[in-house]
């Protein structure tokens, strides 16, 4: 077993992890160790060959591989210790300022003794069985990410006649990729009454190619025993139950499942971090610190982001906190106030605040609405918004000054129609 010491250990070398490792090094941390399970760094970025990355972070429109390359060059030039093809298998919080992360790697088992750990472990895709698609299990059912790996890293076509279930951005982007490569995308099926992805992706990925989008529909089952031969689709009611008699078949040879992402935080959960059922990740305070002192979260492991730019921004924020933790021996043990989800707010990060810093919040609404106020009454905040939609993240800042007169032990974030005040 090899022992390694780290001031800042970053798990995962996607956008959040690369940005975190670079920032920690820039801020003067001596031993920054970056662990990744793959051979090539960059997380999912190398296979996201479409543009649209970095408009905020670099003020340029880059493709995924280009975005990853820039961050990776920075990490390499700064002298971060990188261990690739290494897989973290356990987190052992030992002391306030010592955590052990055990990892399996080509060098054998690694025990990394770290003062601080940043989880930038990303997310995994939901699978067919998690969205209740029954039937045979023939060849030709892939998640959107798997199809992307096949096409855009290995140059293989998963099929010719495609049905995509789920209209999140990944599904939409793959619809366009298939169409561009000459496949026939017969339908995108969305169970909700509104699309899951950004409006611009509906335009440039579906409308551009004449791909039909079936809202309020679900894929019920897969036909075919050896290879996919078709899918049975049905219309759903408001409770998302299939309307009897509405079922019809779409012939296809491939079903692509793009049904959302889940943060990969099993190690945190097993180590006893307090979890939030809304984000399906660990609860954090404004330092992006979990309830395990000195263990931070960033990127899609923290909250599923719309934009890579936010993931990188969270990576930098977590690194900044980690450095502060090391320099000041942790954070002052002040009372943390809770952030309560009010009307039409499905999730919010961070879930805890001290009221002693400027705080960036990331959230999502439950329902699309127009002409609303984003309200935080305890600090007297009221932001007008022309529209809110579940696929589009809420991102806003509350300044330290606004917390000064906060007397309650909580703040409530809600989205309310403007007509009601």
């Amino acid at each position: 077993m090899k022992k390694i010491y780290a001031d800042v250990l970053v798990l995962g070398a996607g956008a959040a992890g690369l940005a975190a490792a670079a920032k920690a090094k820039e801020f003067g941390a001596e031993h920054v160790v970056l662990l990744d399970e793959k051979e090539e760094l960059g997380g999912v970025l190398p296979q996201c060959i479409h543009p649209g990355f970095g408009l905020h972070y670099y003020r340029e429109d880059l493709t995924g591989p280009e975005f990853a390359f820039r961050l990776y060059e920075k990490v390499r030039n700064l002298g971060v210790e990188v261990h690739n093809q290494a897989y973290a298998i356990e987190l052992i919080p030992r002391k306030y300022d010592e955590k052990i992360v055990r990892a399996s790697s080509p060098e054998g088992l690694l025990d990394i003794h770290a003062k601080t750990v940043i989880f930038a472990t990303g997310a995994r895709e939901r699978q067919r069985h998690e969205i209740g698609i029954i039937g045979y299990r023939p060849i030709g059912v892939y998640t959107a990410g798997q199809a992307q790996t096949m096409m855009d890293l290995y140059g293989m076509m998963p099929g010719k006649e495609i049905v995509i279930v789920g209209s999140g951005d990944v599904g939409l982007i793959m619809a366009r990729r298939f169409a561009l490569q000459g496949a026939h995308v017969k339908a995108v099926i969305e169970i909700l009454p509104y699309p899951g992805g950004l409006t611009r992706n509906i335009q440039q990925c579906l409308i551009d190619f004449g791909i039909p989008l079936y809202l309020s529909h679900k894929v019920i089952s897969v036909n075919g025993t050896k290879r996919v031969e078709g899918v049975i689709v049905g219309k759903v009611d408001e409770k998302l139950n299939t309307i009897p008699g509405s079922e019809f078949e779409i012939k296809c040879d491939t079903l692509i499942v793009s049904a959302g992402l889940l943060p990969r935080v099993e190690l945190l959960m097993r180590a006893g971090a307090f979890m939030d059922p809304a984000t399906k990740s660990a609860v954090v305070n404004e330092y992006l610190e979990t309830t395990i002192p000195g263990v931070f979260l960033a990127g899609n492991a923290l909250v599923i982001n719309d934009l890579v730019d936010y993931a990188a921004e969270q990576g930098e924020a977590a690194a900044t906190s980690a450095i502060k933790f090391i320099q000041e021996g942790g954070f002052p043990s002040c009372v943390q106030k809770s952030v309560v989800k009010g009307r039409n707010v499905r999730l919010i990060v961070p879930q805890l605040i001290t009221g002693e810093n400027d705080v960036f919040f990331y959230g999502r609404v439950s329902q699309p609405e127009e002409d609303v106020y984003l309200k935080v009454p305890e600090v007297g905040m009221k932001l007008r918004m022309l529209r809110v939609k579940p696929p589009e993240m809420l991102r806003f800042k509350i300044r330290k000054k606004q917390f000064e007169n906060l007397e309650e032990d909580k703040i409530t974030i809600s989205v309310e129609p403007r007509s009601e005040g």
Partner: protein, 126 residues
Amino acid sequence: MGEEKEETLKFTCIVCPIGCELIVKKVGAKIIDIKGYKCPKGKEYAIQEVTNPQRILMTVVKVKGGSLPTVSVKTAKPIPKAKLLEAVKYLSKLELKPPIKIGDVIVDDIVGTGVPIVATRNVNGE
């Protein structure tokens, strides 16, 4: 001269993730009103979209004997939408040799558009 009808086109701006709803009114080929954009790029896009719609193309090109079997590429600038599939077809027939560096020009002028195809990923030799 015959009366030309006023036409209203509605579409989503794709310049950035905000996705503004653009409304363009035109009579024949003449644009008479543009609404819904929040920045100069959006206005430019609205005009472009109703006169000569263009898109950036992204795909992969085969690589023989490299660290990866493909290199990701894009058009250096948007090309006419009508040329997208022709460009992909052309690129699918190419086979490159490593090393390839980000920014390398793979094709000088893709299907007569005058726009080069550039690599967006490094591919080293095996």
